[in-house]
Symmetry: C2
């Protein structure tokens, strides 16, 4: 049921931004949520997520702050910036166009 990794290309970014637009999250949590919500069609690992998070923060689309969880473990929570919100909207729009184009070619 796992999906080809090539198709993942360029999708981690909009997905992360969309999730963070809903609420602040920490990295490990994002991995779990993505994998769970897709019924493990996506199987993100750390090597997929963390470089992307750091890239997004470097670009000013998200920002982070450390918090200590109830279990005593430090977590790095990410929130969306204004710039990130705009980028998120643009990326979601782009996905719509892309998916429509692919569907036209594959099913029309």
């Amino acid at each position: 049921m796992a999906v080809n990794s090539d198709m993942m290309r360029g999708m981690a970014e909009p997905i992360i931004l969309k999730l963070l637009n809903h609420k602040k999250m920490y990295g490990y949590e994002i991995i779990k949520v993505v994998n769970e919500k897709t019924g493990n069609a996506f199987q993100w690992k750390e090597g997929t997520l963390y470089p992307c998070l750091h890239r997004l923060e470097a670009d000013g689309l998200i920002q982070s702050e450390w918090e200590i969880a109830d279990n005593g473990k430090p977590r790095k929570y990410y929130t969306l910036t204004k710039k990130g919100q705009a980028e998120m909207a643009a990326k979601v729009e782009e996905w719509s166009h892309f998916a429509q184009a692919v569907n036209t070619l594959l099913f029309a």
Copy 2:
């Protein structure tokens, strides 16, 4: 209106196989058809297509034969093999799962 190239990753293959499943086509024709059908959301160039065609042929998913067109220009026509048909079906199925997963994350 042009779509991010990153999202293209891994999609040239299923699209080409799907088109060739309908009828035999030559490279330059595929480029024109894809760009036109997507309203130029996709803007394939030679550097996108030919390496992919060669890869597919090397993998035994398509096969080629030269023909001389009415305008005198030689064209390399590609047709789908049995193996290619199976791969096409699998890839289209994979796209469906992938798109559904993304939609769940972006719109749910």
